[in-house]
């Protein structure tokens, strides 16, 4: 009886999917925690500071040399940060619209994690494909979910019933809608070349023919800049812009509710880095490592390659933050609507012509 259940393909599918979801969720949460640390450390180095170097549990300091070293690198800081978020007073101001005020942080986080479902983070491990959901319309699913992410921010801004969060929410909704269009259009040219919306097949194509960033540099630039705008990172962090809007949509939030916005922002950053690796940098493949893994070790190596590429892109995200000052709002709209969208459209037309001529 029991053997029957275990050999049932539906049961196996559910079991493996659950395992993959759990592992991906855990890895992404760890990544978020340490991405914050890396961001703080790199920012500190760029600004001639040292960054977090003091937090350490007393027991860890007992380890001879390593304890002090880990303390100096700030390896325990994420734990302290997390603990602080949990222990802080969870304050709901009077006159907020309570239901939406409580709902908004959750709505901000969920899409960020849902996008990770279709990203192939490795080739195969054993008999399993290393992707949670191998959808035929993978990229469309991602865009659909990403477009829902704006609700968390808009509702947070509106429900706070305060002027700065409201301005932040309004700005972000306009910004995210504008850049979503450019982002979606930049990707179309990739699929014209590959001829498939499935992300697994997209990576296999790149493993065979070379990375798509070489074929579509314009699309990559548009996608990269739009990703900055979609994740509300500097130089496009108009929705938060500490200096003008105090903190934008999360001004009125504290404790774990604030932490959820923070988590969502970094999870978005991870998701868009992973997306860029998949779309433009060949996912788990390297130019000489194009075959889906046959051994367990090979599968793990592929996952490692994917994560390494992702980390490089995340460092780009962190570094660019200090390279450019914040855009003015009209400049942002101008860049989105009057440069990127026409450029993306021209790119689609040029690619379509190229594909049609080559396939003749």
């Amino acid at each position: 009886m029991l053997e029957n259940i275990f050999s049932d393909p539906t049961f196996q599918f559910v079991l493996f999917s659950a395992a993959k979801i759990a592992v991906v969720f855990g890895v992404v949460m760890t990544f978020v925690a340490y991405a914050v640390l890396v961001e703080r450390k790199v920012s500190a180095a760029i600004q001639d500071r040292v960054g977090p170097n003091r937090t350490a549990p007393p027991l860890a300091l007992k380890i001879p040399v390593l304890g002090r070293l880990l303390q100096r690198w700030g390896m325990f800081q994420p734990m302290a940060d997390g603990l602080k978020f949990i222990l802080k007073e969870d304050f709901t101001p009077a006159y907020v619209r309570t239901v939406y005020f409580w709902l908004a942080p959750a709505i901000a986080v969920i899409p960020a994690f849902l996008t990770l479902a279709v990203i192939p983070f490795g080739s195969t491990l054993g008999s399993q494909k290393m992707v949670i959901a191998d959808l035929n319309v993978g990229i469309l699913y991602t865009f659909g979910i990403v477009s829902l992410g704006v609700y968390g921010i808009v509702l947070a801004g509106w429900s706070s019933n305060s002027k700065y969060p409201f301005l932040g929410g309004i700005r972000s909704s306009a910004q995210m809608i504008s850049y979503e269009i450019a982002m979606g259009m930049s990707v179309v040219s990739l699929f014209l070349i590959v001829g498939d919306l499935n992300l697994m097949n997209l990576i296999q194509w790149q493993a065979d023919h070379g990375w798509l960033v070489l074929y579509q540099p314009v699309a990559f630039v548009i996608f990269l800049v739009s990703a900055f705008a979609e994740t509300n990172r500097l130089p496009f962090d108009m929705p938060e812009s500490e200096s003008e809007l105090i903190g934008g949509y999360h001004t009125e939030y504290s404790s774990m509710k604030f932490a959820l916005f923070f988590l969502g922002e970094y999870a978005n950053m991870i998701a868009s880095s992973a997306m860029m690796v998949t779309l433009f940098f060949g996912g788990w493949s390297l130019p000489w490592l194009g075959k889906p893994a046959e051994t367990l070790l090979g599968g793990l190596v592929h996952i490692g390659i994917f994560i390494a590429k992702m980390i490089v892109l995340m460092l780009v995200f962190i570094w660019v933050r200090w390279m450019l000052p914040r855009f003015r709002y009209d400049q942002l709209m101008d860049l989105g609507w009057r440069r990127f969208i026409p450029a993306a459209l021209a790119n689609i037309v040029a690619t379509a012509l190229g594909v049609a001529l080559l396939n003749r």
């Binding site: 469309l140 699913y141 865009f143 704006v150 929410g169 909704s173």
Partner: protein, 170 residues
């Protein structure tokens, strides 16, 4: 034993109807933002129905366009307008009566048509996979003219919107 897909169909269909009703006539809140959010939920449940029909492309586009873009603009406008009066407004009894009459009539027509309809695909045949490639073929080969006419209609609407939003014409 009912199939899982059947159960999911009833769940999504029920959710669509429930959220749709709450969007139009919410007994708990007359806040326009609440209505808009229920409309978003209705759209998402409908996307679920499309998934059950294996129309993945349609489901994704439904969420991307309606839930992700159109409804965000709706919310944008609702939040910018002062809608305090809307919340306080009394229900117009004549309008409610006429509206329910219209709904009943429409429902009657729909039920009669559906009862008399024969299934397009005979039961047991292979379901049509809603692949993007097939959809593109159909749109750009069989239905090219209607597609182009629609796009011109959209263009006209766009030009009209820009003209209307311009305060002074030069």
């Amino acid at each position: 034993m009912p199939q899982l897909t059947d159960l999911l169909f009833y769940a999504f269909a029920g959710m669509t109807l429930l959220f749709g009703f709450l969007c139009v006539a919410n007994p708990l809140s007359r806040n326009p933002v609440t209505s808009a959010m229920f409309l978003v939920l209705t759209i998402i449940s409908m996307a679920g129905l499309f998934v059950l029909l294996h129309a993945f492309f349609l489901a994704a586009v439904q969420i991307l366009v309606y839930a992700g873009a159109v409804m965000v603009l709706f919310l944008f406008v609702i939040m910018l307008l002062d809608l305090k009066e809307e919340e306080r407004r009394k229900l117009n009894k004549v309008a409610v009566g006429l509206g329910s009459l219209a709904v009943l009539g429409l429902a009657g027509v729909l039920v009669r048509v559906l009862a008399g309809a024969t299934p397009l695909i005979a039961a047991g045949s292979k379901p049509v996979e809603g692949s993007t490639r097939e959809l593109g073929r159909i749109l750009f080969q069989s239905y090219l003219l209607p597609f182009e006419i629609l796009s011109i209609l959209l263009l006209v609407a766009m030009v009209g919107a820009i003209l209307l939003s311009k305060k002074e014409l030069k």
